[in-house]
């Protein structure tokens, strides 16, 4: 079970997201590095267990009870892990892959802080079983910029002061990028309606709507 299969199965990820070679120790998603970073802690502190697939002998086909093996592309990088079946996509991202951009606000689909894109569509990762990401592509806030060049939506949030504490911001930005792509950023009213799933406790809504209007024109949609 080679992780390179994941890339070929999903077609070419965008260049900026090109997966690093397996085992690259500077790659934050590398299972090697994660193993040293925090798998032990994750296993000890929660119901989540992570078994790097490469650590399994090829003959072993049966997985431990209550686990499932998934292969997915996260921000263009292939990820192959065995997870507790109960794990949410949000916990997989945050606890296992150390991608803490997506936030846990309510954990019940009510606030939008955990918004990520699954196969290009925005979803609440807290109510998505991680197992459902198998064979699919996940995009998080960490995968949005081109290196140091911010995505137009990120820049617009800065330009329009579209945040105070910033806790809701990664979810707002992921929702906003999708909102524009869907064609739902054509007016202030429509932006407000289609962004209503992302709650901002600080009430930065005026700036958020202005940022989306601005970014939508730069993104050439809406």
């Amino acid at each position: 079970m080679s992780r390179n299969d994941d890339i070929s199965a999903k077609g070419d990820p965008e260049d900026r997201n090109r997966a690093s070679p397996q085992g690259d120790s500077t790659d934050p998603l590398s299972l090697n590095r994660r193993a040293t970073l925090g798998i032990g802690a994750a296993m000890a502190s929660s119901a989540l267990s992570v078994v790097p697939l490469r650590a399994q002998s090829p003959q072993v086909t049966a997985l431990p009870e209550g686990t499932t093996a998934i292969r997915t592309l996260v921000n263009g990088r292939p990820v192959a892990v065995t997870i507790d079946v109960r794990t949410s996509l949000l916990d997989l991202l945050r606890e296992t892959l150390a991608l803490t951009g997506a936030k846990k606000g309510c954990d019940h689909g009510q606030c939008g802080a955990c918004t990520v894109h699954l196969d290009g569509r925005r979803v609440a990762s807290c109510l998505t079983l991680a197992a459902k990401a198998d064979g699919r592509e996940v995009l998080t806030i960490e995968g949005l910029s081109h290196g140091d060049a911010l995505h137009p939506m990120q820049q617009a949030f800065i330009d329009h002061d579209a945040l105070q504490c910033g806790y809701c911001t990664p979810g707002q930005i992921m929702a906003a990028v999708a909102c524009v792509a869907e064609g739902n950023a054509t007016s202030r009213e429509r932006i407000r309606e289609y962004m209503s799933g992302s709650i901002c406790r600080c009430g930065a809504y005026v700036g958020i709507v202005a940022a989306i209007e601005d970014a939508a024109s730069r993104m050439g949609r809406g």
Binding site: H108, V123, A124, L129
Partner: protein, 333 residues
């Protein structure tokens, strides 16, 4: 959350066979926006979860024939924005577009939507919660009756339960006499959406009439029942992204300036998606005026019973029906 066996079938038949083997502890999961949510609260404790989202045949949306046909796994967002549905069938498109958020509509399926559970705060208080709930733990009592009942139902309630049926889409489907197609251990069958729902009576834990292991495969809507002169009007505590305090699905058929037939169903106010025949009868053969619209709204609530904090729903509900009738009539070309 209790652990479970996860199964990912590729065909509807495989899914139904797995359900039959899994018995009472088995659940289908589509979007998971109800099921996984309630598993996190320990209200749902399945021993086996069958992920049906990999069954390609159940995602199809067909709008060419006399009957619209929506595969049970079609996402709410896809049906809401379908070109034909949004152009020709506003009552359907609006019921979906005004539900939940875009994130959730991308996840949630139109089939799973029919089986969502109540948002009654005492029910969601969770297993082992301090408040009794007959739906969650049969026989334990109902804390909503005499409690904080602002959001509770005023129609179809019983001594055992006043929990609101929360969905918007089922209300629109009941108004247009939609049907569902099912596949179960004994093969396929179909029935009206209206027949899917039970009244709480003494057994509020039994909400649906599905047989054990039965799967919804599709929803069918007779095209002419859901025409242009229709709307789903939804009143909420905030302008968007909230469950209905009161809602009305209305479809009008006009002959000249008179109503040949009105279809009216109510949401947010009843223990199941609620058809309002008294209002429909009052409207048939009449010219629609604001006065008649309001009278029809009041007729829809004639049998309503309020609790301590939800009496406002009688008047709000009546006016919601009245406004919906006017909105639908104004869509005349």
């Amino acid at each position: 959350m209790q652990s479970f066996r996860l199964i990912r079938p590729r065909t509807a038949q495989e899914a139904v066979s797995a359900a039959a083997q899994g018995g009472a502890a088995s659940r289908f999961i589509a979007g998971g926006t109800t099921l996984y949510d309630l598993m996190k609260l320990n209200i749902e404790r399945p021993g086996q979860v069958i992920d049906i989202t990999g069954i390609g045949e159940l995602h199809r949306i067909e709008t060419a024939g006399e009957e619209l046909r929506f595969g049970a796994l079609a996402p709410m967002s896809a049906v809401a924005t379908d070109a034909v549905v949004s152009r020709d069938h506003p009552v359907l498109a609006e019921a979906l577009a005004k539900a939940a958020s875009q994130q959730l509509r991308n996840m949630a399926s139109v089939g799973g939507n029919l089986l969502q559970r109540t948002r009654c705060p005492y029910f969601r208080n969770g297993a082992g919660g301090v408040y009794p709930c007959n739906k969650r733990e049969p026989g334990s009592g109902c804390a909503a009756i005499g409690g904080l009942d602002r959001s509770q139902a005023v129609l179809g309630t019983s001594e055992a339960c006043t929990a609101v049926s929360p969905g918007d889409w089922p209300v629109a489907l009941v108004a247009v006499d939609a049907g569902i197609e099912l596949l179960g251990p004994n093969g396929p069958r179909s029935m009206p959406v209206d027949a899917l729902y039970r009244l709480p009576g003494e057994t509020p834990q039994h909400e649906f009439t599905l047989a054990p292991g039965e799967m919804i495969t599709a929803i069918t809507v007779p095209r002419r029942n859901a025409g242009r002169l229709s709307t789903y009007h939804k009143i909420r505590d905030r302008e968007s992204y909230a469950f209905a305090l009161a809602s009305a699905a209305v479809v009008l058929e006009l002959e000249g300036d008179r109503i040949a037939q009105a279809r009216v169903a109510l949401g947010g106010v009843a223990t199941r998606p609620w058809r309002a025949p008294a209002a429909e009868q009052m409207l048939a053969g009449q010219r629609l005026t604001p006065e008649l619209a309001l009278a029809a709204g009041h007729a829809a609530f004639r049998d309503a019973r309020a609790g301590h904090h939800n009496a406002f729903k009688l008047e709000l509900g009546a006016r919601t029906v009245a406004d919906a009738l006017i909105i639908a009539a104004e869509r005349r070309p």
